[in-house]
């Protein structure tokens, strides 16, 4: 039931993600930030299996930093997206060995079950959004979404999206999508986080909370 979606506007890209950490029928927490700041001008919004989501996005973040340390310049968004796709594609078919009859039983690694929307801003290319699904399909898009929420958010964005939207108009569209998800998805996540990336960098823009975490102290 994880909802992640994003769109590109006039000189910026916005991504929104739900913030529920769910295990079967239990909601562990409802303020889990699923949008990682990759570097100063990149965001990764990831959805999928929680362990893979955190481990893989951190792995990408550290490698992006390593490139910057080694080469003195940051990766472009396209390069970071292609690096991410490469790692997912390699893991997709990595087979360590067939189990042998002897004591060693090295199992097959399974692919990372993470779907990613990577948003970034480069001086030359402007704002861009990359759709990378868990089997390493990469595509540059103007609007993208993952999860059950995508059935509602993609259609809403198709209806109202224009390529030269301002930040205010884009936030209105994001709010329309969140409203649609909340009203039409059966176990709709209550809270969302919205992050934006533009020439001034990647940062958190807003939260949309309908349920706050309650601590025992306040009860």
């Amino acid at each position: 039931m994880e909802c992640v979606f994003g769109l590109v506007g006039n000189g910026f890209a916005i991504v929104a993600a739900d913030t529920s950490a769910v295990h079967s029928i239990l909601v562990h927490k409802n303020n889990e930030d699923k949008i990682m700041v990759l570097d100063s001008h990149k965001l990764i919004a990831a959805s999928g299996e929680p362990g893979d989501r955190v481990q893989f996005t951190e792995y990408v973040q550290k490698n992006v930093s390593l490139y910057q340390f080694r080469n003195g310049i940051p990766l472009t968004t396209a390069a970071a997206a292609n690096f991410t796709r490469g790692e997912l594609a390699t893991a997709l078919r990595k087979v360590t060995s067939f189990p042998t009859l002897s004591y060693e039983l090295r199992g097959v690694r399974n692919p990372y079950s993470v779907n990613i929307l990577m948003a970034g801003y480069d001086k030359e290319a402007g704002a861009s959004l990359y759709y990378i699904d868990y089997i390493a399909t990469l595509h540059k898009v103007d609007k993208g979404a993952f999860g059950y929420g995508s059935y509602f958010s993609l259609s809403t964005m198709d209806r109202h999206y224009r390529s030269d939207m301002s930040v205010e108009e884009a936030i209105e569209l994001v709010d329309k999508c969140i409203l649609e998800i909340r009203s039409r998805l059966v176990i709709a996540p209550p809270n969302f986080v919205i992050k934006i990336v533009d020439k001034d960098g990647a940062r958190e823009h807003a939260w949309r909370q309908s349920v706050q975490d309650v601590t025992t102290a306040s009860v």
């Binding site: 594609a89 997709l92 078919r93 399909t137 595509h139 898009v141 995508s150 993609l154």
Partner: protein
């Protein structure tokens, strides 16, 4: 649903008089949902050889990267471009290498060989080459494409007529297939020029 039908695709290539045309649809989907309507399935290897890959999009992208790499290496070593027949054999070998864990793609290769003689071929996901003198098809809409091409094809068409024929065959076939469509992408290649055109068909 078969894994070959996960993303949806339609690809066709036709032979004309000293020219060839290669066309594909533009939809990138995830089963029933459409993700993008501008997905590139046809890639230029060099000015006289094109490859279009249908099937699972992730393998289309991986295979394309591997083939471009191999061709660049060939260019460095041989100081010339690959002939289309040679390139087809290379693709076949690369696909068979993964015989027991294959790339889930079916390529269509088209090129101009010696004396500007057009060459087309297709292969299955493990590299079984299928040469043809007239047309080759691949993808989720392949059955419709076979019918449409058989009906519309004539030998020795000039570039303009070939473009019309392949476009009509592609659009009418993808209209009967829910997983492919959203326009078309056609390259018509003659010894002197490469013409790339985008078709607007039923956008659904």
């Amino acid at each position: 649903m078969s894994i070959f039908e996960y993303n949806g695709s339609a690809v066709v290539a036709m032979v004309g008089k000293n020219c060839f045309a290669i066309a594909s649809d533009r939809r990138l989907g995830v089963q029933l949902q459409t993700i993008a309507t501008d997905f590139q399935r046809i890639s230029k290897i060099h000015d006289r050889v094109f490859i279009a890959l249908s099937g699972l999009a992730t393998d289309v992208q991986t295979l394309y990267q591997r083939l471009v790499f191999r061709h660049k290496l060939y260019q460095l070593r041989e100081e010339r471009d690959m002939k289309p027949e040679t390139f087809a054999s290379l693709v076949s070998a690369i696909l068979y290498e993964k015989r027991f864990g294959p790339y889930l793609c079916q390529p269509v290769i088209a090129g101009l060989g010696e004396d500007d003689k057009p060459f087309i071929c297709t292969m299955d996901s493990i590299g079984a080459k299928e040469l043809a003198k007239d047309f080759v098809v691949s993808g989720t809409a392949s059955e419709s494409l076979y019918g449409a091409c058989e009906a519309m094809y004539k030998p020795d068409m000039e570039a303009e007529e070939l473009f019309e024929t392949i476009s009509q065959a592609l659009l009418s076939s993808v209209d009967r297939d829910c997983l492919s469509g959203w326009g078309g992408h056609v390259y018509v290649v003659t010894p002197t020029e490469i013409k790339e055109r985008i078709l607007k068909g039923r956008m659904d």
